[in-house]
């Protein structure tokens, strides 16, 4: 736990250095926040076409989009910079992280911390908060707990995908865009009700193969106490922490294998 202080120190130094040029940082922060506002706006532009999405009305759509936005924003702020690993593997700069007596992964995340991404977290909180406020939720202790835990388990899921996507660079340096299909693609996928994807292979694979149904859609159904039109059993809605744990195990295992596989550039 003593290491934690060191990481905090690195993160603080990052924040200080990146906010040195105030104007540049302000533009960066505004742009990064606006770009993710666009994704949320898209949901509502499409919602406005027929006043519903996949059979769900405004409050449910807001809740699902808010959960997805918040979970992704937290993951992006904490784990999003893992994608820098590609450059480090290519340049051999990863050696420097391995030489220090700290976790290579934690260093990777701390050293590349991007404070501009915090704007998105605030934005996600606002949308999720609005969703919770307008949705007709029959509050009880279990639902309160679910409402608090779900953005975090979703963030863990996305975080694991960021790590898995970055880890692939140990074998395949130019893999960058493939990871985007599952991270950014996952964010878009989870922003909409699952019913929109039909019952085909694509929807099933993203929802249950990767587990994106557990990020926003199923927990939102539990909060709203609505039956799933596609007949997913009710108890699965409470399983997000479990799927997040499986994701963590998968990501850690892959990271361990990957880091053993790492051969420096030799320069």
């Amino acid at each position: 736990m003593a290491d934690l202080g060191v990481y905090l120190h690195i993160v603080r130094a990052q924040i200080r250095s990146q906010t040195q040029y105030r104007m540049s940082f302000a533009i960066d922060l505004a742009a990064s926040t606006l770009i993710s506002a666009l994704d949320i706006a898209t949901v509502f532009v499409l919602f406005s076409v027929s006043g519903g999405l996949g059979g769900f009305g405004g409050p449910a759509v807001l809740l699902i989009a808010g959960l997805s936005a918040l979970a992704f924003a937290i993951a992006d702020a904490v784990f999003g910079n893992a994608e820098r690993l590609r450059e480090l593997v290519r340049s051999g700069g990863f050696d420097a992280l391995l030489l220090r007596p700290l976790s290579a992964l934690a260093q990777l995340l701390a050293v590349n911390f991007a404070p501009r991404r915090v704007g998105r977290v605030v934005q996600g909180m606002v949308v999720y908060g609005l969703g919770l406020a307008v949705a007709d939720i029959d509050w009880n202790p279990a639902r309160v707990l679910l409402a608090v835990v779900t953005p975090l388990t979703g963030a863990v899921m996305f975080g694991c995908l960021f790590i898995i996507g970055a880890t692939v660079a140990f074998w395949w340096v130019e893999s960058g865009e493939v990871a985007n299909a599952f991270t950014y693609g996952g964010r878009d996928f989870t922003s909409y009700p699952l019913t929109m994807y039909g019952g085909g292979f694509f929807g099933r694979f993203f929802a249950f193969g990767i587990g994106f149904a557990f990020v926003a859609y199923l927990p939102a159904l539990a909060l709203l106490d609505r039956p799933d039109p596609m007949g997913v059993p009710d108890w699965l809605r409470w399983c997000s922490p479990l799927t997040a744990m499986i994701a963590v195990l998968a990501a850690t295992a892959l990271w361990r294998v990957g880091i053993r596989h790492y051969r420096s550039t030799g320069s």
């Binding site: 990064s32 606006l34 770009i35 499409l46 027929s50 519903g52 130019e174 299909a181 929109m196």
Partner: protein, 263 residues
């Protein structure tokens, strides 16, 4: 001069042809997003009674996959390296050459777009054809117009990015300009949703006042037979010419400024 431009085009093509892994990765991602957007659009159309503001499902499928295929051809999200060369001062070597850097960059980018057409365009379109029911134009002339429209879109995409790159002569740090361009071109091109979904006034502003619809939406509308195809293509050519002229004018001012600083 034609020989030089041809050499630059082939050089651009061959440079990007060496990035095989990245091409594969990018194509894969385009296909995943194609599936994602396709299902979303089809579901929206279904709940709106079969038509999404005038697009039937087959037209939506064509719109979505054309958008995913053209994304890498138009390449609007990837800034040109001119900004970096201005910042480091390397642009001086570009200006020493006997060809105006505007044309050097344009021909190289056309070569890159040509390679993207063969790979990142065709594969997602094929995926769309295999997995969804796509609207295919009956008139063979439409295919020719679509190809011309894609060329115009690529030039518009180049012009916009070159102009953003030129701002480096004044701003040095182009992050803000790049972000603004990225955001406006994403929504304004109709990548996220067909522009007909927007309120009328905003649509008019986008089509008449900005080059963004020329990047993707124009080609999609020609392909699915919405609006007068010749008028849409004329609009794209207009924006391509305007942007290139603007690039030329801004570059002349920028180089004069550069001389003043250097002298």
């Amino acid at each position: 001069m034609p020989r030089a431009s041809w050499a630059l085009i082939t050089a651009g093509f061959r440079r990007y042809a060496t990035y095989r892994q990245a091409t594969f990765a990018g194509t894969f991602t385009n296909i995943v997003f194609g599936f994602l957007r396709c299902y979303i659009m089809l579901s929206v159309a279904a709940s709106a009674g079969g038509l999404l503001r005038g697009y039937d499902s087959a037209q939506l499928v064509t719109y979505v996959w054309l958008g995913q295929g053209m994304l890498a051809v138009v390449n609007m999200w990837v800034p040109l390296d001119i900004a970096e060369r201005v910042r480091t001062g390397d642009v001086v070597t570009d200006l020493f050459r006997p060809i105006n850097p505007l044309w050097t960059y344009l021909w190289t980018d056309i070569g890159r777009a040509g390679f993207a057409m063969l790979t990142r365009f065709t594969v997602p379109i094929a995926a769309g054809l295999v997995f969804f029911e796509m609207h295919l134009p009956r008139n063979p002339l439409t295919y020719a117009l679509v190809v011309l429209s894609i060329v115009a879109a690529a030039v518009v995409g180049f012009g916009g990015r070159y102009l953003i790159g030129l701002t480096a002569f004044w701003l040095l740090d182009t992050r803000g300009a790049v972000a603004a361009w990225g955001m406006l071109s994403t929504v304004g091109s109709g990548l996220y949703f067909p522009l007909t979904v927007l309120p009328e006034w905003l649509r008019v502003v986008l089509w008449v006042g900005t080059p963004f619809p020329s990047l993707l939406q124009a080609t999609a509308d020609i392909a699915v037979g919405r609006g007068d195809p010749l008028l849409i293509l004329a609009g794209q050519v207009f924006w391509a010419v305007v942007l290139l002229a603007l690039c030329g004018a801004v570059q002349r001012r920028a180089t004069r400024k550069l001389v003043v600083q250097g002298g």
